[in-house]
Symmetry: C2
Subunit: 194 residues, 2 copies
């Protein structure tokens, strides 16, 4: 087994292009050109353009699912669980921002009904787990009484689109990102919260 086999290279290159223009706007000739080969040569390694998308999206979605289930089954406080989820999103974003962009923007181009259903189930379950964490936190007094949807999607929206802006500024170290993100999401930005 080579350090990175050819198929993995294709997937990484494709993910980068998908991030920039979206799945539908990227042609297999674009992907081939980015690898300095001809389009037909790609098919020695992949079955279809669609297969690339499936591998990118499902792999990352499963990663989120796995960790979320661990978190949910742990006995940490609600706030600690959310802190763990924040760090999970930062982890994956820093490691694979291109795949994350695909997950966010191109999942609806999964053509096989089974793939789409599988993905949507993972996403729904993920949000439902998050919802349960928030509700428990509200009940035991850790979290403010706000509409759970607003809490869930305020945090998730920020985390899901982190890949769009985290690397724009060099002044933002990984440590600062992790700490300030946690603080801003959990404690807000005003000086006198009460």
């Amino acid at each position: 087994m080579k350090p990175t086999d050819r198929k993995t290279e294709i997937i990484n290159v494709a993910a980068r292009l998908f991030k920039e223009k979206g799945y539908s706007a990227v042609t297999v000739r674009d992907i081939a050109q980015a690898m300095n080969i001809k389009a037909a040569s790609l098919y020695n390694h992949i079955a279809s353009k669609q297969e690339i998308l499936v591998l990118i999206v499902i792999t990352i979605a499963e990663e989120f699912t796995t960790v979320m289930e661990e978190v949910q089954q742990s006995e940490a406080s609600a706030i600690a669980k959310i802190e763990r989820i924040i760090q999970l999103h930062i982890d994956i974003t820093l490691r694979n921002p291109d795949a994350l962009a695909c997950l966010n923007n191109d999942w609806m181009h999964l053509e096989q009904e089974a793939d789409l259903k599988y993905f949507l189930k993972m996403r729904t379950d993920y949000e439902e787990n998050f919802r349960q964490i928030v509700k428990v936190g509200v009940q035991n007094g850790e979290i403010q009484h706000r509409n759970p949807e607003v809490i869930i999607f305020s945090i998730l929206s920020t985390l899901r689109t982190l890949y769009l802006w985290y690397n724009k500024t060099k002044s933002l170290s990984e440590t600062t990102l992790r700490n300030d993100m946690r603080n801003v999401l959990l404690e807000g930005i005003t000086v006198n919260a009460r």
Copy 2:
């Protein structure tokens, strides 16, 4: 002038389809079918598919720009300015979620360099205005000392993707959305901020 002329109808239908599948994945035949006419008939009203995108994206972007400039020139506190921006995003999202989806996801498919540059300038200026508001707020003690990028994009990410989730739950009234969104974004979710 009719209540809504035909061109406006096309743009609204197209925006809805673009929201669901993205600009590149929507064909002019898709748009025509959604209006119960043939693709060629569209060209009695529009110059090109691209023109539809330009009208959708630029119109909304200019709306954000106009209000942001008013806000920036006002003499409100930093927090009050941010509160106004939060309400602006909610306003536009409730009124035109489809166009907002295009703005977020399809701006990179603006084909004319002039259009793309114009849009990017508006977006950069918008973020820069937000950055200035935050920096002033930090200086005069209204806002916590956090990395400004984290503050700006935490809030903007949430507001920009509001169209994705605001209508999922019927349990979320407009009033609750506006109040809780403001509270969550500005004051966080924890009970003991200090």
